[in-house]
Symmetry: C2
Amino acid sequence: MGKKIVIVGGVAAGPKAACRVKRLMQDAEVTIIDQDTLISYGGCGIPYYVSGDVSDEAELRSTSFHMVRDEAFFKNAKGVTVKSGTRALAINRQDKTVKVKVLASGEEQDIPYDTLMIATGSRPFVLPIPGADLDGVFTISDLHKAIEIKDRIAKGKVDKAVVIGGGAIGLEMAEAFKDLWGVTTSVVEFMPQVLPRIVDSPMASMLTKHIRDNEVDIFLGEGATEILGKDGKVTGLRTAERTIDADIVIMAAGVRPRSEIAADAGLQISPMGAIVVNERMQTSDPSIYAAGDCVEVMHLVTGKKFYAPLGSLANKEGRVAGDNMAGIPSIFKGAIGSFIMKAFEVCIAATGLSLEVALAEGYDADVALTAPSDRAHFFPTEAIVCFQMVFDRRTRKVLGLQGFGPMGDGISARIDAAAAYISMGASIDDFGTLEMAYAPPFSAAIDSINALAYVADNLCDGRLRKTSLDIFLAWMEDFSTQSDWLALDIRHPIEAGPFVEKFGADKWLAIPYNEIRVRYKELPKDKKLIILCDAGTRSFEMQTFLDSVDIRNTQVVSGGLNMIRRMGVDWYPG
Amino acid sequence: MGKKIVIVGGVAAGPKAACRVKRLMQDAEVTIIDQDTLISYGGCGIPYYVSGDVSDEAELRSTSFHMVRDEAFFKNAKGVTVKSGTRALAINRQDKTVKVKVLASGEEQDIPYDTLMIATGSRPFVLPIPGADLDGVFTISDLHKAIEIKDRIAKGKVDKAVVIGGGAIGLEMAEAFKDLWGVTTSVVEFMPQVLPRIVDSPMASMLTKHIRDNEVDIFLGEGATEILGKDGKVTGLRTAERTIDADIVIMAAGVRPRSEIAADAGLQISPMGAIVVNERMQTSDPSIYAAGDCVEVMHLVTGKKFYAPLGSLANKEGRVAGDNMAGIPSIFKGAIGSFIMKAFEVCIAATGLSLEVALAEGYDADVALTAPSDRAHFFPTEAIVCFQMVFDRRTRKVLGLQGFGPMGDGISARIDAAAAYISMGASIDDFGTLEMAYAPPFSAAIDSINALAYVADNLCDGRLRKTSLDIFLAWMEDFSTQSDWLALDIRHPIEAGPFVEKFGADKWLAIPYNEIRVRYKELPKDKKLIILCDAGTRSFEMQTFLDSVDIRNTQVVSGGLNMIRRMGVDWYPG
């Protein structure tokens, strides 16, 4: 008989490890234990199931060749035994057994193992507020809940939905409610922006505007204080600022590692509650592995452990665990925190550290912004994309990249290339010469990622002096009290005209880019000039010229009006 | 007065360097010399101008903010002097002057420089065959030729076109002729595949099939021997095998560096005729820089110099030259040879080394193939993509990646990430854990690039034994004489059925994937089993199982029927 491999948890990391170890050791007895009856599903697909993009939940449990991954499938195709509806209660490390309870019968058993793997995943965080237990309050934690939510919508029971949490799952669920089903939908986010810590505020603002343009309300900086109900059923949500009617409330306030069984067995647990593993996905007990949402992994930028509950990482970690359980010394070096999300017609993505996180981690961090064409600007399908690079001024290392643009794979191309590059320690200079495959239907001769590195390079070397978007927008909000600066708009007169008309030429001066070299003497010398164009590129060029004629009190708005327009400021003309 | 910077060549690298150096040294006198009257254009856009995707040639000479890059633009916006219609005749390194001739007047001048840059680009290779000088024979070398080609088509003078050369420009031109204008179009390629040396034969075959499906004839392994004409005008093309009627012949047989002026000045030139530069784009004369299609650069995989005439590299090299001319020690480390092309509804791309090139370079090279879904297989826009990874068995380094799939940016996302990773020396194992940003609308939890690395890992460690597509297809072509092997088709019976019916169960045995573990005793032990599924993944899994029951004479066809179907074999049922 071969080795007994027992795996607790049957969603992502568990099945992946089970199948891998079985392929490597066909004589092993591999058993997966899961308390649920539905296993091995694509949890990240739940919003698309609720929206109707995926018509049947079974598709989330099927292989690419359309077999449903149930107990029979694992038995017949994989040679792996699945005990579903079976809860793991405790690990006896001395005897090398797992005590389980068959939920249907209540029967308890001790299952022996040679090697154990814990893949217990995560659980959604339930806010400790009144009403959290009302009928109609859901977390997005398993397929059963997803099926019930969709069932309620399909039966016409949902007219108004509130989502607590402006993270990825919350926003995807909001789109699912609104886009196909036309449900009146609101999102309440405690932090002052959506996707907190994942992207920085300019990116979050562009996303927020797009979602609001699609008629989903987003309330930022508002914590849910109470879920209201009547006769045991949800009727609304209260924040400090307002009450919102609702037939359904989705709590999408993040997840926590499900590590109790590991903690109870005395395995090492991190301060935030995740199971501690080494590069081989081995816990503090060499006979016990762990992977997926229940563990913490190394961050490839900070070199510190972090919590990254993602199905894509769970699968990779699961394969490494499978290798090691079979005696192949594979390594999972860590993760970089790549993120991508569709929202109606746009895509937002990030990898590495945000500026906020980088500063909190102690880097001498700064950001470069740009908003160029995503492909040759003469190619018919061209569109503007907005990118932000986070870098360290001292080491010139790139720490992160964020992108926002039209739906498609153009943003992911840049984010994925950046993830690969950053994980290898790439610098601004590496990014400047990174070779993105070029042809006009796909990219620009100077790719947006190269252009971004050029901005970072000029910033880092002190050649480019900028105003951050946040500061500029704050000035514009408090326009009447600001008298020490003047906008210098170097775009085409047709573009600049409405701004001059609205704000007056003493506040918003328009001189076209190609006339500055002869007309610079018109510029006032007693005020700071904020140079503005579409993306910031021409502004920098004119800043270098103005320096040469001793007009040095200038600042560039990187990202320019392409980004400002997408952020949805109320002072924008027209 | 500032430094005198003179730049010979005004298309890509030249203007980029000129504008960069001017931004860095506003007091420099920067002059661009070009013999053409049209400068600073996107040459890679010519096929899209001919096709009509780009309506006006001026768009290829315009900025993203719609200013035409002519002499006035460079003067007013950039502060750079352009002398167009002016040919550089010779460099006097002693006196630091360039002798030029104003083509309109015939006047000659000596232009002094402190620093000179050569950006003379490339010229198309003109085949030394009879008829190459007939009216109607064109190379794709400048905008004037493109304008004339489009003019002839638009005036109805072109019914039949022949393109010599199945490289990127040739195939793009063929699509331009056929797709919008409906011109009867043929491509003649001397080598036995399109895109020779860029991609390997399975990828080239899929592309060829798709282009042929779009009614462009492609003749492989046929050299053009003579261009036929009447009254000085083209009437056709002759190869050893056939004569093809034509009103127009496009010679797209590659380009050669235009380095005569550098050679005449005694600068170091490579054996293939490119100007030799260091990492700072400096020639063997420290006062003379060079960049773009006239230089050779370092290959980041082989560590050898190579010739990579691409507009995207020209721009990057130009910026580095500009930096160094201004005293900033920037470095252009080299290139990796990334390539991407649209062809009707598909995209093909590559980075790094092809198998053919890798073997020629002496690597212990092999390939992994796979053909999975490009995103979550349950997501509505999912499609099959085909990838090939080239790796070195000894070092486990990844040497190259090739991809083929539907038009869009999904292929470039993988190629660009691979380019970044490979240029940093990434191994198969790095690719296995590469974190591609994951959400169902964009990618699969196990991304195609990870899946490919898994195949390579299993191959490298000897766990996966394969038959190459080439060998399998050769066997199938010579089916009747092959008796020592048997196809084992493990797909769904509906998929396998037509094959069994066509080839007979003694040659094409169908047992579904999920029944092998109980039915393996039905397998003959005296024959080699070629295991087939859609992508190769299930085949490998069954190979590991069959090994465990001592049926070891098996081979997997990686890439599987997903790739074979796209390669257009004539034995494919239905």
